[in-house]
């Protein structure tokens, strides 16, 4: 374990701190669950490696911390892949909006130059922890989506656990916090499933994302939810991932009805389609188009 973290000691350098901060920014900008979960593991590994190198965090404890985060990410990924759409139904605006928010928060933080004083933590590390806290607040503020909310809360756990391990070096406290991380993740995994079951998806008006409680009552089910949640294109590599997944699904032949039987037409709830088409009719029209 010591060797593993010795190999990762570049995270303790200034470049490492910048990499971690950039990963956090990327998680917010892309707002994709795959990027968020991968970023979470990278941030956890980086902060743990930094803790080992800079604060004397035992390598075994750091290893346990990374293992807990890997399990948490796996639990969230399992819930995310079981949902009908690959992206959130409560999307946090589009990527230019999120970019502006990240830049604004970063500039405000650098201008005010506030750093939470944590005993036993070097100022640059405390700065990183403050940035993690700000990113957490931004993610919580951007959306009600359970996956991104729990990612934000897990981001808060990362520096907190390193700081607490230095201040209260007690194994039972460390184990308790790790166990609570898993319990919170389990709860969030359940909430992801009940939130994302076929519920609602319609193109939100840009300004409506600011008032998530005012969802229109006539939201209906569409099977193209992920096409309509973002009004502007995503960054290139994320768009590629989404497009490839979408192409793979479209390449599968639609389930054909038995000969001489009516097509299984799923009626849309009011508002799901302006002209009253059913999902199967929409799909058929798209296939022909």
């Amino acid at each position: 374990m010591e060797q593993l973290f010795a190999g990762l000691d570049f995270f303790a350098t200034e470049t490492g701190v910048l990499i971690i901060m950039a990963v956090i920014g990327l998680m917010i900008l892309t707002w994709d669950w795959r990027v968020a979960l991968a970023g979470l593991v990278v941030v956890q590994t980086g902060v743990a490696a930094m803790g080992v190198a800079r604060t004397g965090l035992p390598a075994q404890w750091a290893g346990v911390q990374v293992a807990v985060m890997l399990i948490a990410a796996a639990m969230l990924a399992i819930s995310a892949v079981q949902t009908p759409t690959s992206r959130s139904l409560r999307q946090a605006g589009n990527w230019p909006l999120r970019t502006l928010a990240v830049v604004l928060i970063y500039l405000a933080w650098r201008t005010i130059d506030v750093t939470i004083p944590v005993p036993g933590i070097a100022p640059d590390m405390a700065g990183l922890f403050t940035w993690l806290g700000l990113a957490m607040l931004l993610m919580l503020g951007l959306s009600d989506n359970p996956l991104f909310s729990v990612v934000a809360l897990l981001l808060w756990f990362i520096p907190a656990q390193v700081a607490v391990a230095g201040i209260v070096p007690h194994p039972s406290i460390f184990a308790l916090i790790g166990g609570l991380e898993l319990l919170v993740t389990l709860t969030a995994s359940y909430l992801i499933l009940v939130d994302r079951l076929p519920a609602a998806a319609r193109r939100p008006v840009m300004t409506d994302v600011v008032f998530p409680d005012q969802e229109p009552k006539d939201w209906g089910v569409t099977d193209d939810a992920e096409e309509v949640v973002d009004a502007l294109p995503l960054p290139g590599f994320v768009q590629d991932m989404v497009d490839s997944g979408r192409a793979a699904r479209r390449s599968q032949p639609p389930a054909l009805p038995a000969p001489n039987s009516a097509a299984p037409a799923l009626p849309l709830p009011p508002g799901g389609s302006e002209n009253g088409e059913t999902i199967s009719e929409q799909t058929a029209a798209k296939e022909q188009g």
């Binding site: 808060w156 209260v168 319990l183 919170v184 359940y190």
Partner: protein, 476 residues
């Protein structure tokens, strides 16, 4: 085996193991909701009564032919749990809340897993109240306990309902935000002992602890778990989860202040509570004024009431703590009264929106009245259970600053207006002609709850005894 049997005779072990065992059995038979809820209600009410009347000067008491060591500690890992005169009243109050919730759940379903998870919650909160020793002072570990208990609460609030998850999700936020602040304070507390002449560590520790507890108290803008859940969660489940959490935070705050008096001396906790309470009470009233959904209206009324309690806690003087506990007692009565009505209304009409409830009072008059009177009690309407507490609170706040009391009074007026509007909807023309009439047993229970609520409105001194008993726990 002998050691295990001996350990189980300690009261903390008996309490937690019996609750968890009952939870496991209740989970297996969760489809028989009514039966399971009644059994759990009877068992927890028996436990609550036992704790309430417990004489801890006697070391042993026989229960079903077996000796129970009343003050024997239970050690699990680095933690020690013990029943003391300081925590027995609070444990009894928590169990009584659980009993009331389970008995109400026998009338209207609160979800298949409500009873087993509710019993688990009771075991967890009892453990928090009984925590006597730990790797750190138990009061500093409160946020960690609350993270776990909030995670369990999220399941009973969602209750398997597909749809919005904002309420249960936001329940996790305050304790997770708070725990690093309170744990970091331990470092400064250690520094106080190393250098008693230096006052800075005490100030820093006080600031971190005060800020952490302020987050745990979840004033506006951290309040939204309560109001969002009020719209989507089963009402009785929400009442139990909310009241247990708030009781625990208040109790642990007072234990913290008792253990570390510098928290109130070196940090502006009273000032923070005053302004946070004012913001909470005012926002609760304003938002209630705009709420048409019955659940939301109830949630914002409860928020207004919580703000008043925070303001009273901030008030200096010997009267503030008894009054805060009095308000907490009245809050418990009002919330359960409203939840009793709401749960039946929700079950019968299929929702709590204004459209669902139109004219429902013509078929469900007693439950509609219970909801309205319970809700009005939360905003201090005259002749409701909450009125005596709110009136006393306004007087005590007005002694310091009459403008704050006036603003809160106006805010409560907004909520009362909203209840009048909802009463017009409930007692207006019936929209759903197929709505069934309330059953005699359900109506009788609603009438009994109304009677309790009105009795407390007319004779608030009935709460003097219980409040004095609980006060002994809070005073340390």
């Amino acid at each position: 085996m002998a050691n295990l049997t001996a350990a189980l005779t300690a009261l903390p072990a008996f309490l937690m193991v019996s609750l968890l065992l009952l939870a496991a059995v209740a989970y297996l038979f969760r489809d028989w909701e009514r039966t399971v809820a009644i059994i759990a209600g009877v068992y927890t009410s028996g436990l609550a009564f036992w704790f309430w009347r417990m004489d801890l000067s006697q070391p042993t008491q026989m229960l079903l032919g077996r000796p129970i060591q009343l003050v024997a500690p239970l050690t699990v890992g680095d933690f020690t749990f013990q029943v003391q005169t300081l925590n027995a009243p609070v444990i009894a109050l928590g169990l009584a809340m659980g009993a009331a919730a389970f008995l109400l759940a026998a009338r209207a379903s609160q979800g298949h897993t409500f009873v087993p998870l509710g019993l688990t919650l009771l075991a967890g909160y009892s453990a928090l109240f009984m925590a006597a020793e730990g790797p750190l002072a138990p009061t500093l570990l409160t946020p960690l306990f609350l993270i776990g208990l909030s995670a369990v609460s999220a399941f009973i609030l969602q209750a398997g309902r597909v749809g919005r998850v904002a309420g249960p999700l936001r329940l996790l936020i305050p304790p997770i935000l708070a725990f690093p602040f309170i744990l970091v304070a331990t470092w400064y507390i250690d520094q106080i002992a190393l250098n008693p002449q230096d006052n800075q560590p005490a100030q820093m520790a006080a600031l971190f602890i005060a800020f952490g507890y302020l987050l745990l108290l979840a004033p506006t803008p951290l309040h939204s778990a309560q109001t969002s859940s009020a719209e989507t969660a089963p009402p009785v489940a929400l009442t139990l989860a909310t009241l247990l959490y708030q009781l625990a935070v208040l109790y642990m705050l007072f234990r913290t202040i008792s253990a570390f008096p510098f928290v109130v001396q070196d940090a502006p906790l009273a000032s923070w509570l005053e302004w946070a309470g004012l913001a909470t009470a005012v926002w609760g009233g304003i938002a209630a004024f705009g709420a048409v959904h019955a659940g939301r209206l109830w949630g914002y009324s409860a928020l207004h009431d919580w703000g008043v309690i925070l303001m009273v806690l901030a008030t200096a003087g010997a009267r503030s703590l008894p009054l805060a506990l009095f308000l907490l007692g009245l809050r418990t009565i009002s919330m359960f009264t409203a939840a009793a009505g709401l749960s039946v209304l929700e079950q019968q009409t299929g929702g709590l929106s204004a459209a669902s409830l139109r004219g429902a009072a013509s078929r469900l008059p007693w439950n509609s009245a219970a909801f309205l009177l319970g809700g009005l009690g939360l905003v201090g309407f005259p002749l409701s259970a909450g009125f005596p507490g709110h009136w006393a609170a306004f007087q005590i706040v007005a002694e310091t600053d009459w403008r704050q009391a006036a603003v809160v009074l106006i805010a409560s007026g907004g909520a009362i207006f909203s209840y009048i509007r909802l009463a017009r909807i409930l007692f207006g023309p019936l929209a759903n002609r197929s709505l069934l009439r309330e059953r005699p047993l359900s109506a009788a229970m609603a009438a009994a709850i109304l009677l309790i609520s009105v009795s407390l409105a007319l004779a608030p001194q009935l709460l003097d005894g219980p409040v004095s008993y609980i006060l002994s726990a809070f005073n340390g």
